[in-house]
Symmetry: C2
Subunit: 434 residues, 2 copies
């Protein structure tokens, strides 16, 4: 069989990781495929300045992606630029040129995935996107092939390594959020503007994509309810521990008869759940199927080489399909027909909740809060208080039995207006994960 | 696209689970594929007596697998009979008839996999075996596609649900092995003859297959060093806990420059490792790649429906390949060339070890044991003893720093001859898993 020609656009972290693997692991790749992958050319803004692995010393470099895409020996284009600008043009340009494409682009696929898939299918080329979600975890292969026969009911994941690193540091050392964030920024684990990570927006794009892959429906990131982790403090981990739980930023998608419920938010999860033991910059996705019961997939969420493995694995699959005569296997998100998922409002969610207060202590506080809960027909489960001698800023926690998010949000809004509150109450769902 | 015809041979647990999924989940399956899977016929020894899902009321039934395989509308044959007798004939017969095959047969693929793969490749048909290892975990899809670009260094798994159930029951309740086994037999979790499970033979076949899938080498089950769990007692979990570890039956395959090290044995694993939180009848596989770092895959190891998901997912993949013009993707264990793995003797293994003794107490015991360790150049790390007042049967534990299995086995053999021993020392490796 002939070799398959690869063009790489984008020589940042992911591009470098991809090239390193193609250079060092070429023999193993060819032993698997039965033919080699050949890097025909690479493209970046200033390609001459880039250091490439020695194996690619003589490889053709260009700053013009159109030239690369048009090159007759390029069979597959890897778009590793990121973002929704030129990356979109590159994918569309490659598809229009009849080239199969591999992308690591989470934002673009979350926003424009269905239309790009449709274009690829019409052009009869393949599209692969393993690297776009949870880089080191082959969750796309799992959903598309490994457990394709199942009916996925629910999926919950730890999808942002920066948030998970910050939360586990707060948990381990009792350090406040701001201090951990500053340290993470110093170490390069968090961006100078950390909003995309700590406010849950990155996880939101990933959850939208995972939901599309699991349920075969188009999910807009805006349909996902999102809350970040800025309000989580060391005392929340102390209270969670008293309840045999911990706190993680959980992206959750649930397929119900009336639609799809989507959220990214910090939640209490039991220490008996494997997800509670996912620490540091790791990601994990827990999947509940109607037939296969629950499975979990764990690995690095990012990093040049883990993401590079996903890109190279996609290149191998697409190359194998090309050798087998063509990509008739193209199907958007693994479905021949993608539906429109009716998002269910988060207000319809049912859960038990953890309510954490900081108050100026005085008699009658619990009575005032309890009467609001009673009014909203919410059953109080427990009141927890860690020893504390700051009367002017006293933390305590109330847990309540399963109720609707609507009732909780209404209750919390009422509670926030009471004059003894130091800050608005923090409400977190208690997720009954296995 | 036309529908693809399926023939199912074997209507036991896995066959029933597969048919239930094909019946109930047919619409979702067709929505993914773009065409339906049609069950053309089923075969079992007494097919008329079997209860089938209502959707398959009128399906053709036969007791003659040759008829089923020869049926012109059967495109893919699912061999769900198990064992190495007629199942082998069915696979070879189907391949000879030019039919693609799906199998759930662990023993047969572990023993005859390479020759069956070769036959399938020559015949130009596809062979799929996701259900043959860790039923509910799509580990074959992961290794074949999801992380295909990586170089797998090492793989460690909890591969036998019965053993894991027994060990976690001993851990949770402090109940002796025999009592837990008897209860597991009563509940149907363990066979009347439990040897294949508790002596590690089932896990051995699975490890041989996983090693072949990860490294692309032929691994005979006999090349795997095996020890069962019969000697693990509640006190071992107490001592392990003191060391912040627990005990699991671990199947491990490691690719080294000089060959492949393979073992199935109980081992101490740290409570910081995700594998230590895998409880009950669940399985998990931890994979270490040179580029992708570590990933973990978790789910049900067996059961009609989780295994059925694997079979149906394979049927979908094979059917899709047939629609795309043929199975040129056949490659044994996912490799175009399968090597011969040189097994390394377990005696070459390097690890820290846990040595547990039961002795008739008298002065000089530690001195006698320590001098044997010194003679073998093994460094003693710690001596642990739980409070105990039975002088005639006193348990205690010695941990030693990393050394070779050869030294440990020699030391333990010498120690076993000392007259104060109530039973031979138990030696378990302490695995530094993440």
């Amino acid at each position: 069989m002939r070799e398959v020609g690869i063009g790489i656009v984008g020589l940042g972290n992911v591009g470098s990781g991809t090239l390193a693997i193609l250079a060092e692991n070429g023999r193993e790749i060819a032993r698997k495929l039965g033919f080699p992958l050949r890097v025909v050319g690479v493209c970046s803004r200033s390609p001459e300045g880039k250091h490439l692995p020695a194996a690619f010393d003589g490889v053709w470099r260009t700053a013009n992606w159109r030239e690369l895409v048009a090159h007759p020996e390029v069979d597959v284009v890897a778009e590793l630029v990121g973002g929704c600008g030129v990356a979109h043009e590159i994918l569309e340009g490659a598809i229009a040129a009849g080239k199969s494409v591999v992308t690591a682009n989470k934002e673009l696929m979350a926003l424009e995935g269905p239309s790009i898939w449709t274009r690829a299918a019409r052009a009869g080329v393949n599209l692969a996107m393993e690297a776009s979600v949870a880089g080191g975890i082959p969750i796309h292969a799992v959903l598309r092939e490994g457990i394709a026969g199942d009916w996925i009911q629910e999926l919950s994941g730890i999808l942002n390594g920066t948030c998970n690193y910050i939360l586990t540091e707060i948990e381990k050392h009792g350090t406040p959020f701001e201090t951990v964030l500053a340290e993470a920024q110093r170490l390069g684990y968090a961006e100078a503007d950390p909003s995309a990570d700590v406010d849950g927006l990155d996880a939101r794009s990933k959850l939208a994509l995972l939901g599309s892959l699991a349920f075969g429906v188009e999910i807009r990131p805006e349909a996902v309810y999102v809350e970040g982790i800025r309000r989580i403090s060391p005392m929340d981990f102390q209270y969670a521990r008293q309840l045999n739980h911990t706190i993680r930023l959980i992206g959750a998608a649930e397929r119900r008869d009336d639609g799809i419920l989507l959220s990214v938010r910090p939640a209490l999860i039991p220490t008996t759940a494997l997800l509670s033991h996912v620490n540091g910059a790791y990601n994990a996705v827990w999947v509940k199927g109607r037939y296969g019961s629950d499975t979990l997939y764990y690995g690095r969420g990012a990093g040049p080489e883990p993401t590079g493995v996903a890109v190279v694995s996609d290149l191998m699959r697409v190359a194998r399909d090309l050798q087998c005569g063509g990509p008739s296997r193209v199907a958007a998100f693994g479905f021949s027909r993608v539906g429109t998922g009716a998002p269910i409002s988060i207000l319809e969610k049912q859960a038990a909740y953890y309510l954490r207060f900081r108050v100026k202590d005085r008699p009658g506080i619990i009575a005032a809060l309890a009467s609001i809960l009673a009014e909203k027909k919410i059953s109080l489960e427990a009141v927890l208080q860690e020893p504390c001698d700051t009367k002017h800023d006293l933390p305590f926690v109330i847990t309540v039995e399963p109720t609707s998010e609507r009732s909780i949000q209404e209750a919390v809004a009422r509670m926030a207006t009471l004059d003894f509150q130091v800050e608005p109450p923090l409400a977190l769902p208690i997720e009954p994960l296995q």
